[in-house]
Symmetry: C2
Subunit: 164 residues, 2 copies
DNA sequence: GCCAATTGCTTGAAGCCTAAAGAAATTGCA
DNA sequence: TGCAATTTCTTTAGGCTTCAAGCAATTGGC
């Protein structure tokens, strides 16, 4: 019996099962963690993940950011950010200021209250994440970082190839 | 100078920066790929990712599944599945049949049309995923699978500890 | 200066998603 | 049997998300 033809008979011409399983595992893993973080944010601080993420972006800068910057960094649509910011201004966490040189542009900043609350949440959040990844060794984490970077690069290459 | 105390001075008492960066990279990577898949499904087949996912679950079985099974497998809420199924029944892709032994239960199946369309989509989808992960070697993929499994286990452990 | 193209943001329609409350059916236990 | 607890599913209110269309302001080429 020819082992080679045997193998070919089992393997279909284009077998991409490995990639598919990898993608499903990646998705499951992220969904699981995201759900856990979402629950904890809700229970502990009564805040949603998108609001937390938006505040996290703003906490990194001192003098504010435009809506476009926010939507690029958060990888969500412009209209989405409009709504999120609106609700966070409403609740007193954010502050909008129209640019003086370009009246289309608005600079969004954390208010004093917003920054204080965010810092409090971020402290706990960081501990949750450390707990969630607690079973991974430093070496595991380094390796995972490296492979995810590679996967990200690969995905960006594929996305670019489709939309030149 | 004492190197040890030097190190301690730099490292904060609880530094969880690595875990946090890892989580952000995982999230970015998944969001990127998910967005790409979503776009392609929309452009090519005018279908949403949740609908595709739901049909993927149903394609795996012959004789249908209950709404509860679906919501567990998809890791989304019950009410969410109710709405998704409703729209897919509407469009002729799904078929509902009330259980004869328990009138609360409904078995959901793909229709002939639904299965045919799903198979067509799934074939292309698999190629997209293979392309998206194309830069990873088989060894990279094996290693990534292993580390993600470990991360998943760790997250499940953490989630369970919070909700006993 | 003029005006077409671009940029920054908002709006509207549609769909996705959750938590919580509730309706209907079944189960299990006294 | 009787009925309380549970299970399955739907509904509702609110928020998130996208895409496409639209408005207002700015820019750049002429």
């Amino acid at each position: 019996m020819n082992l080679d033809s045997e193998t070919k008979a089992v393997e279909l011409p284009d077998d991409h099962g490995t990639e598919l399983r990898l993608w499903l595992r990646l998705l499951t893993c992220t969904t699981l963690i995201e759900g856990e973080v979402r629950s904890r944010l809700r229970e502990r601080f009564d805040v949603t993940l998108p609001r937390f993420d938006l505040m996290a972006q703003l906490d990194k800068v001192q003098d504010g950011m435009t809506l476009s910057d926010l939507s690029k960094r958060m990888m969500v649509s412009n209209g989405n950010v409009t709504g999120l910011v609106e609700r966070l201004v409403e609740s007193g966490h954010l502050d909008r200021r129209t640019s003086e040189t370009d009246r289309r542009v608005q600079f969004i900043r954390l208010t004093k209250l917003g920054r204080a609350e965010f810092r409090k949440m971020a402290g706990e959040h960081e501990k949750w994440i450390a707990d969630i990844f607690g079973d991974l060794s430093p070496k595991d984490m380094r390796e995972l970082m490296r492979l995810l970077a590679k996967a990200k690069g690969s995905a960006q290459r594929a996305a670019k190839a489709r939309t030149p």
